[in-house]
């Protein structure tokens, strides 16, 4: 598997660390249910997924990768920090 890092270009999967689903962190007072969902509940999609990957052996950017878990097609890779 290869990922196109927006900074470094196309690289081998071994340079990256998988960081789980890309989720919004709840507000501190969001309540038990929201925190439970954020910490423990995960979709297991057969199809499009939004994931975080860390270019650990590269530029150390955290990336949001949109990919298809069925076809393994990669639809997009963007910097998690956006324009920063």
């Amino acid at each position: 598997m290869r990922l196109s890092c927006p900074i470094c270009g196309e690289r081998d999967r071994r340079e990256f660390h998988y960081g789980g689903a890309a989720l919004e962190r709840p507000a501190p007072e969001a309540g038990a249910a929201a925190w439970d969902a954020y910490l423990h509940l995960r979709e297991n999609p057969a199809g499009r997924s939004r994931e975080l990957w860390y270019h650990e052996s590269g530029c150390t950017a955290w990336l949001v990768v949109e990919r298809d878990t069925v076809t393994h097609e990669i639809h997009g890779v963007t910097l998690a920090a956006g324009g920063r």
């Binding site: 598997m1 290869r2 890309a22 962190r25 007072e29 910490l39 393994h72 910097l79 920090a81």
Partner: protein
């Protein structure tokens, strides 16, 4: 028998080789298989299950029979296909799975008992007594069945792994692959052409058919030479593409050294390539399939295409009287080649009733072979034609049941091949692998002209995707005969007809599987072991499928194929894991004090990838404990020095660095003043402790965080996650400086005096109070000094740029020795921290909270931080949770063991009654008895209570008493003083 002339071998270079203890001669350009056939060796091995004699069956990597062991000793390699092993000087090969000898094998008794040991026999027979399976039946069966055996010794050979990138990967260098490579190369694409064979050219090297009026092999050689001369082309011979992975990644095995007479030192035997290609053309050709009939496994029964390859490429006649049997024009082409080579053709049997032949050989249209006879090699063939059964003498039978396109690689990403009735074979599903274009025989195009045109077409399509334009290359004139096939899989009959030669699976086995309701092709495979041998059923799967389809009354397309998985051909683990043997398995990280520590005789222990000194032995000490106790005494009474550089050091800077630290630590760091250090705890978002450490404020918006050695990497990743994903609005940057700074702890009541002798400007009274930090100059080098302590003594950590680490360590140790102290190791460091009740990852093991560790006070209530919300969950603050305490022994036997469980004094030592466990223990020379840390239900509320400590694994049971966490200087007067 070697023909007088012909072949692509170098008859000027004779090579001596040894097989089964006898010496023979072959030529450069031979494979072991062709050289054996040239020497009239017919039996080359025994079969897997029935121990039947077997001979060379094919001329390629699909070979099911001719598996041999090459070499001797530790480097001996089993299961080498004789058809793939190029002949080299003094090659030594041995047959497999036979005892006492190849020609007289005792376990041939299995063959006589074959009626009773068909598929499923083991499952049904060796059911009971149940215990017998593991200790009696399985070992016996494993000894009887099998192929080659490994030496059991460490592999002394070198393997390599490598990476390559290209625009276009062309897989296979037959007519289609060569044409594709030429087209793409002329267009300027960066091309890799990989071919399994030592001699690229594919079928062009095995056929007499001409290209542009010349030999096909000459055209192939010229094309390869032209490609090799181009700077944008890499031709990789002896390279099998073994797997297809996501985003255009391919695995390929290059056989680098197997063919060399003298392998230069350091040259690897094999190299495993990972090739990233923007596009790929699959020109992997097709594999010929046999027809099953009674006795079709006899040595001398051979694929027709292989017979032509031996004749035309190697100048070898596989027999003196050859019969030919087929269901396409391949049979006629084979007979014609045999006649042209001067070999006697005793019968040409064509299953198609409407077939015609112009050859002057006995011709039997509409005939089928019904039996093959001859114990150690084919002697005669029985066949039926025109309603009559007859026999003919033959020591070789060339068989062709048609060709199967090599769809293997198109199925590695879960693609399923589609059935093509016209050629009675599966072809690749369109678009099965994104960016991979099948062409030529691999796509079901079987004429040479068709393959050439299809190769050019595939390249043009690939070039289009790369934004390049395909040149209009002239296409050589070549045969364009249509492919006429009458599907024939198995000739009916009562006697055993083999499908899978490598795993000894017969037509009867597959029918039996269907009868027992293993009707799914995947179930049939597992019940019969069809296609599960190292060759993965390359020559047999489709026929087995057809037999199953027939037995279950379905079509082949409906029956479907089993799953094709990488690798296409066997790949040695040594090649895939090249570089990871022994010390190569994990990199070694060494501190700047490594040499000096080893020179002082310190045994090094692994801490993650780091190596750290365990203790520094002195003359007269007989055990590590004596050394450790002495080193602890130095620190408690004088001064000790130890390397703490392995702790993670992260430099954090930016206007928002303080706010950032507030968010990752439970405590507040934005209030930390320059020149001050604070201890902090980091939680995971689920509320459990991730790591601890100190962070120093070096200046406005400039911090230096330390992590534990083990968590340095994960913490760095976590900080980047927080900065980039959770809090991108914060202006903060960080970088790991673990390896940039060498850092040494100087601990003990004498440490201040000690350092004042080292620092260029001694500390003034009141300088560097506890938890202070600042810049210092040490022997002319700018360094940093931190007044922190992991030992409970008055202590410092002094840091200098790593290049001065070695010199500083030596100087510090020498000076400490002059003051009645010296270097101390990990054992002493652990004792010192246990006496103080300080933490390591033995306590912060991933399931504990601040509350459990007695550190609730470090959790700020005035800000949000990672893990705050989850840490407040009722279950994580329950006072009855297991919480950290110290344990001291009571009773006669004073022993405390990490891993032991704690029970109330009157409770039984069973899991349900367990109230906690010991995490760390040591002998405390300061207190004169063992001490331990452990988690205990409501621990801090049970001080003074006596508990049972039971170590079920070691069989130890003792008594201990619950004590406050800190066993030494609980008020911290020594630390701060």
């Amino acid at each position: 028998m070697r023909l007088k002339t012909g072949g692509l071998i170098d008859r000027g270079t004779a090579l001596r080789f040894r097989f089964d203890g006898h010496d023979y001669t072959g030529f450069r350009g031979d494979t072991l298989a062709s050289a054996l056939l040239a020497n009239d060796i017919r039996v080359v091995g025994r079969s897997f299950k029935y121990h039947r004699p077997r001979g060379v069956f094919s001329a390629g990597s699909e070979e099911p029979n001719a598996l041999v062991t090459i070499g001797r000793g530790a480097g001996a390699e089993p299961n080498v296909r004789a058809t793939m092993q190029e002949l080299r000087a003094d090659l030594e090969a041995r047959p497999q799975n036979c005892w006492p000898s190849l020609h007289w094998d005792l376990l041939e008794v299995n063959d006589w008992a074959s009626r009773f040991i068909g598929a499923g026999f083991y499952y049904k027979t060796f059911m009971w007594p149940r215990k017998f399976w593991e200790w009696v039946y399985e070992p016996a069966i494993r000894r009887a069945a099998g192929l080659g055996a490994l030496s059991g010794a460490h592999n002394p050979d070198r393997y390599e792994k490598a990476y390559a990138h290209c625009d276009l990967l062309v897989i296979g260098a037959g007519p289609a692959g060569l044409m594709a490579a030429l087209t793409a190369a002329e267009a300027g694409a960066d091309v890799i052409l990989a071919d399994e064979d030592a001699l690229p050219g594919g079928r062009l090297n095995g056929e007499r058919a001409t290209l542009d009026g010349g030999a096909g092999s000459d055209w192939a050689a010229a094309a390869v030479a032209r490609l090799r001369a181009m700077p944008n082309v890499r031709v990789m011979a002896r390279t099998t593409v073994t797997g297809v992975y996501d985003q255009g990644t391919f695995g390929a095995l290059e056989r680098v050294g197997h063919h060399l007479d003298d392998r230069p030192r350091g040259l690897p035997l094999e190299c495993f390539w990972r090739i990233a290609a923007k596009r790929a053309v699959l020109a992997a050709g097709a594999i010929e399939r046999p027809v099953a009939f009674a006795g079709n496994d006899r040595p001398g029964v051979m694929l027709a295409g292989a017979v032509r390859t031996y004749l035309n490429r190697y100048g070898v006649a596989p027999g003196r009287r050859v019969a030919v049997f087929g269901n396409t024009d391949e049979a006629h082409r084979t007979a014609a080649d045999l006649v042209a080579a001067g070999v006697h053709v005793t019968a040409l049997i064509d299953a198609r009733p409407d077939a015609r032949s112009t050859l002057s050989v006995p011709f039997y249209p509409g005939g089928v072979v019904t039996g093959a006879e001859g114990r150690l090699g084919l002697e005669s063939v029985r066949f039926e034609a025109g309603g009559r059964s007859q026999g003919v003498m033959a020591d070789c039978l060339a068989v062709s049941g048609g060709w199967n396109p090599n769809v293997h690689l198109t199925c590695h990403l879960n693609g399923r091949p589609v059935w093509d009735d016209g050629i009675a074979a599966f072809v690749p599903a369109p678009g099965a692998v994104p960016g991979l274009i099948p062409c030529g025989a691999a796509a079901g195009v079987f004429s040479t002209a068709g393959c050439l045109a299809d190769g050019a077409r595939a390249a043009a399509e690939a070039l289009g995707g790369l934004g390049l334009t395909a040149p209009d290359l002239p296409q050589p004139e070549a045969e364009d005969a249509p492919y006429r096939i009458r599907a024939l899989w198995a000739v009916p009959g009562k006697r055993r007809a083999w499908l899978d030669l490598q795993n000894d699976v017969t037509v009867k086995d597959v029918r039996g599987a269907a009868q027992e309701n293993f009707r799914s092709v995947e179930h049939m495979k597992r019940y019969t072991t069809q296609g599960m041998a190292p060759d993965q059923g390359k020559t047999s799967n489709l026929a087995a499928l057809a037999v199953l389809a027939d037995a279950t009354g379905r079509g082949i397309a409906q029956t479907g194929t089993t799953t094709y998985r990488p690798p296409y051909t066997p790949v040695a683990i040594a090649a895939m894991g090249a570089g990871a043997q022994g010390k190569g398995f994990a990199p070694e990280r060494r501190t700047t004090s490594d040499q000096a520590s080893r020179k002082r005789g310190a045994p090094m222990i692994e801490a993650g990838l780091w190596y750290r000194p365990s203790y520094f032995p002195k003359g007269g000490e007989r055990t590590w404990r004596e050394s450790c106790d002495r080193e602890v005494g130095w620190v408690r009474n004088a001064v000790g020095v130890t390397d703490v550089s392995t702790l993670g050091k992260i430099d954090i800077q930016g206007p928002d660095a303080g706010a950032f630290l507030d968010f990752v630590y439970t405590g507040t760091f934005s209030t930390l003043k320059p020149g001050r250090v604070r201890y902090g705890i980091m939680l995971r978002e689920d509320g459990h402790v991730m790591d601890d450490g100190t962070t120093a404020c070096l200046g406005e918006g400039h911090y230096l965080m330390t992590t534990t050695t083990a968590a340095a990497g994960p913490v760095m990743r976590h900080l980047e996650f927080v900065a980039q994903v959770l809090r991108p609005e914060l202006d903060v940057q960080m970088v790991s400086v673990t390896e940039q700074w060498a850092q040494f702890a100087v601990a003990g009541p004498g440490s201040r005096d000690f350092l004042n002798g080292v620092l260029d400007a001694p500390m003034a009274e009141g300088d560097f109070p506890f938890m202070a930090c600042g810049e210092v100059s040490v022997m002319g080098v700018q360094g940093r000094l931190f007044r922190i302590s992991f030992s409970g003594e008055h202590a410092y950590e002094i840091a200098v740029p790593a290049r001065y680490g070695d010199a500083l360590f030596r100087a510090l140790v020498t000076r400490a020795e002059g003051m009645g102290g010296g270097a101390y190791g990990m054992e002493a460091l652990n004792v010192l921290r246990l006496e103080k009740g300080l933490l390591t990852h033995a306590e912060m093991h991933g399931r504990v909270t601040c509350h459990d560790l007695g550190l609730s006070g470090l959790m700020s209530s005035r800000k949000d931080y990672i893990g705050r919300a989850a840490a407040a969950r009722p279950g994580l603050v329950d006072p009855e949770r297991e919480r950290l305490v110290a344990l001291h022994p009571v009773g006669i036997e004073k022993r405390l063991l990490p891993g032991a469980h704690l029970f109330a004094h009157d409770a039984p030592a069973v899991r349900e009654a367990a109230e906690g466990y010991v995490t760390s223990a040591c002998h405390s020379p300061t207190l004169g008895h063992p001490i331990a840390l452990g988690f205990l239900k409501s621990g801090p509320e049970r001080l003074g209570e006596t508990l049972r400590m039971v170590d079920h694994l070691r069989g130890v049971e003792t008594w201990c008493v619950v004590r406050p966490l800190c066993s030494y200087d609980p008020k911290g007067e020594r630390t701060r003083g």
